[in-house]
Amino acid sequence: MDIRDGKGTRRGWRHAAALAVALLAASLAGAPVRAAAPGDDAPHVPDTLQQRIAACTACHGPHGEGTPDFFPRLAGKPAGYLARQLGYFQAGLRKYAPMEYMVRQLSPAYMREIAAYFAAQQVPYRRSPVPALPTAVLQRGEQLATAGDPARRLPACQGCHGRTLTGVEPDIPGLLGLPYDYLSSQLGSWRTGTRAAAAPDCMATIANRLTPADITAVSAWLASREVPDDAHALPAGSVQPPLACGVLGGGAAAGQGAAP
């Protein structure tokens, strides 16, 4: 804990006490707290990871809850997955200039710590609007998610993302509770090359086999699903992936942040 006022021991002790109370309150309430001591101009800074990563929480929310319209939710996603994404922004596999700038000088250890913070956050999922689509489209979406389409060499989403579609520790994210816009734009990004993963990039293969109509269908079906009470990712080893994926240790270049 840092007490940074340098204005005498008595004040220091008073502030230490105030800060201790504030930190206790913060740990109980889970909310950012700053101990404001009257008559002292220097701000007091909680020595917490949440305080350190204000740059992340400014957009993604204090607990990684995200915003409905733009900034993706991070809360509860598997830690390995989140750490990999930070590494991908660093290596330019994922393209979004503000994120690339943000993570540029972070160390792998710090990125893992940040990823673990967001992975541990428990935030209720909120429903987001799904476009009104004909039943046939949603049925196609369900088919893709649960059975795949062997004719087009498309494995089911469940094949990797787990029977419950809530992801698999430590590297596979869940697909439920995410907005339609987010899901469809991620699949689109894989097709345009602004999002990629360690080679062999099986999601790129799949996204390129999907038609635009399929992307709409599967995104809409996933976004319309209820999130189960236990939305945690399944334990490691719960799936036998149908494709060789770099993120799952398949292929040669599975290293985090490694270029393809």
């Binding site: 840092d2 101009d41 204000a54 740059a55 957009c59 660093q90 942040g257 270029a259």
Partner: protein, 429 residues
């Protein structure tokens, strides 16, 4: 009339001579090949030499430019953007086809010292031979030995894409005549060993002046060394490095400079933008005595002329009021209502060189982009600043930056909404 004709003829003659000179091939003697080199392959394998070269390559931060985003270190490909086009840094690994595998030390030395490539071609000064010419031959040999010890990576770095006439390498003859003179570093016997070491590092391998001095319309610099300047295209302002009166680092102690270079943060400010990368990849690994030497040298830079009086903008009073409100609401929690910051955590804004640069670029971009100071051994989990690009519009950013630049003891001029608009749309390199 007759006199005019004479002048015209003289000009024609000059053009003809220059044209002939430009059109003929390189007249420089080719450097010896690898087999004929005075430096044998065995000499280059000396582990002590390789280790020393590794340190010097770190001091020179070769890896930053010579590595593509996410690519293998030293294999080249990162494009340096310039107002004349972009110049990708070549592959420095000892791959024979795409790297330095066929280079002799003599060829490497000529590139570093004279800015001339292996086949006699003039090198673009995106490669800072204007500074590296002061690197000693011994140090160059160590760096070469280190580079030759790297695993060879087959990777074509690409060729420059420059506008006419800059795409003609011969056009560099004129540029070099004005801006470049090959020459060794000359120690000043009247100064201490530390000062001389610092000057050697700053002026040579550290190539600090390449960013920290203004460039003119032709991309050369004739400005006072280390007096600060806008980095073209990237649009950051590399501050004046003087620590005496009116210097960009006025009041910085030796320790402040060492702290910033070693940890990315000091009591006077934090490294961000391009300097964060320099600290992360280079200066944090430098030996303490070298950092002390650099600080000693910077402390000796002469006082600077007083800046012009603080300008004003229309609506200054209303802007200042608005800026003060935003500051209290968004900034004071971390930087303090008196701009003092929090030691070791958040940099002060009162007297901070990044706030006070003449163009206001750094403060505007810091507010828009936020970010982390570099992660270093001395600061492995830095506190960060939120980006405000999504939360504040151009007018509000201009107001708060203008407020900060004029608050407390700060006396820098206000910035304008149109500046914020511009830097909001500057691509992040």
């Amino acid at each position: 009339m007759k006199r005019l004709r004479w002048i015209a003829m003289a000009v024609l003659l000059l053009v003809a001579l220059l044209g002939g000179w430009l059109l003929t091939g390189p007249h420089r003697a080719a450097p010896p090949s690898r087999v004929d080199s005075t430096v044998s392959a065995a000499m280059l394998k000396d582990p002590a030499l390789v280790a020393r070269g590794g340190y010097l390559a770190t001091v020179g931060d070769c890896v930053s430019c010579h590595t593509e985003q996410g690519g293998p270190p030293f294999a080249g490909g990162r494009a340096l953007p310039t107002p004349f086009g972009s110049v990708p840094a070549p592959n420095l690994t000892p791959d024979r086809a795409t790297g330095l595998g066929d280079w002799s030390f003599e060829a490497f030395w000529r590139a570093l010292h004279e800015g001339i490539g292996r086949h006699g071609e003039l090198l673009y000064p995106a490669f800072p031979y204007t500074s590296y010419t002061r690197v000693s031959r011994d140090d160059a040999l160590a760096i070469f030995a280190y580079l030759q010890s790297l695993p060879p990576v087959h990777h074509v770095a690409g060729s420059p894409s420059l506008r006419f006439p800059y795409d003609l390498r011969k056009s560099l003859l004129a540029w070099r005549a004005v801006y470049f003179k090959a020459g060794a570093f000359k120690p000043d016997p009247a100064r201490s060993a530390a000062w001389n070491r610092g000057a050697y590092l700053v002026q040579g391998l550290g190539h600090c002046n390449e960013c920290h001095a203004a460039r003119d319309a032709f991309g050369g610099s004739t400005a006072m060394p280390l007096s600060g300047g806008r980095i073209p295209v990237q649009d950051w302002y590399a501050p004046d490095l003087g620590t005496q009166a009116h210097g960009g680092l006025e009041g910085w102690s030796t320790q402040d400079i060492v702290d910033l270079l070693k940890t990315g943060q000091s009591a006077k400010g934090a490294a961000f933008g391009p300097m964060a990368e320099v600290v992360a990849r280079s200066t944090q690994f430098m030996h303490d005595d070298d950092l002390q030497a650099i600080a000693t040298y910077l402390q000796s830079l002469p006082p600077r002329p007083a800046p012009p009086a603080r300008g004003t903008v229309p609506d200054a009073a209303a802007m200042d009021r608005r800026g003060g409100e935003i500051y209290a609401e968004r900034c004071a929690d971390c930087h303090g209502k008196d701009g003092t910051g929090v030691a070791g955590v958040y940099p002060p804004l009162d007297g901070n060189s990044a706030v006070l640069d003449p163009a206001g670029i750094n403060a505007i971009r810091a507010v828009l982009l936020g970010g982390f100071p570099p992660v270093t051994g001395g600061n492995p989990r830095p506190y960060s600043m939120p980006p405000f690009a999504q939360q504040l519009d151009d007018r509000d950013v201009a107001a708060v930056v203008s407020y900060i630049r004029g608050a407390w003891s700060n006396r820098a001029g206000p910035v304008q909404q149109r500046d914020v608009f511009r830097y909001r749309h500057t691509p992040v390199q």
